[in-house]
């Protein structure tokens, strides 16, 4: 028992020799119980070693799959590639709003049946 604990046993006894002896017995018992169980030191050391590894090998596939999923999403998401300002179909009426009605009719000729008052498309005959 250390000198510090011997002093403590004496001070905590309140000057009674019997209490001092009892304190010493309590301290001795705690000192005896203080040893770590066999293997605990090695187990803790092994756990420390495991913590020191920067990346556990079993996590590598998970990281690789996650990275692949993220990369695929970034490359294939809508709008990932900038659309050209002018469509390659230069006749597309979307590119020429001024001529849009005419172009729409040129590219998507309306059914003659739709050229009626019901279809709200002016008739070619009377202009209504």
């Amino acid at each position: 028992m250390s000198e510090e604990l011997k002093n403590f046993a004496r001070e905590a006894s309140g000057g009674e020799p019997a209490a001092e002896a009892a304190n010493a017995r309590v301290l001795a018992r705690f000192a005896a119980a203080g040893a770590a169980p066999e293997g605990a030191k090695a187990r803790v050391l092994a756990a420390l070693e495991a913590r020191r590894k920067p990346l556990a090998p079993r996590l590598v596939p998970a990281f690789a799959i996650s990275a692949a999923v993220v990369a695929a999403f970034l490359l294939l998401r809508p709008g990932a590639r900038p659309e050209p300002l002018l469509s390659t179909d230069w006749l597309s009426y979307d590119n020429f709003p001024y001529y849009s009605d005419e172009a729409r009719q040129y590219l998507n000729p309306a059914d003659p049946e739709e050229r009626s008052l019901e279809g709200l498309i002016p008739s070619a005959e009377d202009g209504f």
Partner: protein, 162 residues
């Protein structure tokens, strides 16, 4: 001083302190692992001028134990004491049966703060002033609490035939 040397020299004392404060040996090992892990990571910041390595290590271990106890208090919604009849007396069961179990049972009757201080006193080798510095209490307060704890432990263990 190398970290391995510090680990070899102080492991038993740190383990004993942690074991006195938590319910099982396995939990004590986990906490020791976390504490030594933190100590290793921050070993470059350790300044010998500010104190002995043992004081520094006990400070880290104490923080880890307190963190564990706070987490346990949040997680444990149902006290296992309710199932005392099913699980039996925790102090008398498992590898801590016998004298060691009696000691831990006696410690369980102390308040958490008392348990902390008495464990530090028994195993850290620090004096009351150093313990006061570690815990943020005054030196006289530490002395008073330790005196009271010792009387309780003496009484409890005397009743069990020590």
């Amino acid at each position: 001083m190398e970290f391995a040397e510090i680990y070899d020299k102080h492991f038993d004392r740190i383990y004993a302190y942690v074991r006195c404060r938590v319910a099982s040996g396995a939990v004590a090992e986990d906490i020791c692992s976390a504490a030594f892990g933190k100590a290793f990571e921050n070993f470059s910041q350790y300044d010998p001028a500010r104190g002995e390595p043992v004081q520094w290590l006990f400070g880290i271990a104490r923080n880890e134990v307190n963190r564990h106890l706070r987490r346990s208090a949040i997680v444990s919604f149902i006290p296992l004491d309710l199932f005392g009849d099913i699980f039996g007396d925790r102090a008398a069961a498992g590898p801590d049966a016998g004298e060691t179990g009696e000691l831990y049972a006696a410690l369980e009757e102390l308040e958490p703060k008392e348990r902390d201080l008495i464990s530090l006193k028994f195993y850290s080798g620090l004096n009351n002033r150093e313990i006061a510095g570690l815990t943020g209490l005054s030196e006289s307060n530490v002395g008073t609490i330790l005196y009271r704890c010792m009387a309780k432990l003496r009484k409890k263990l005397a009743a069990e035939g020590l």
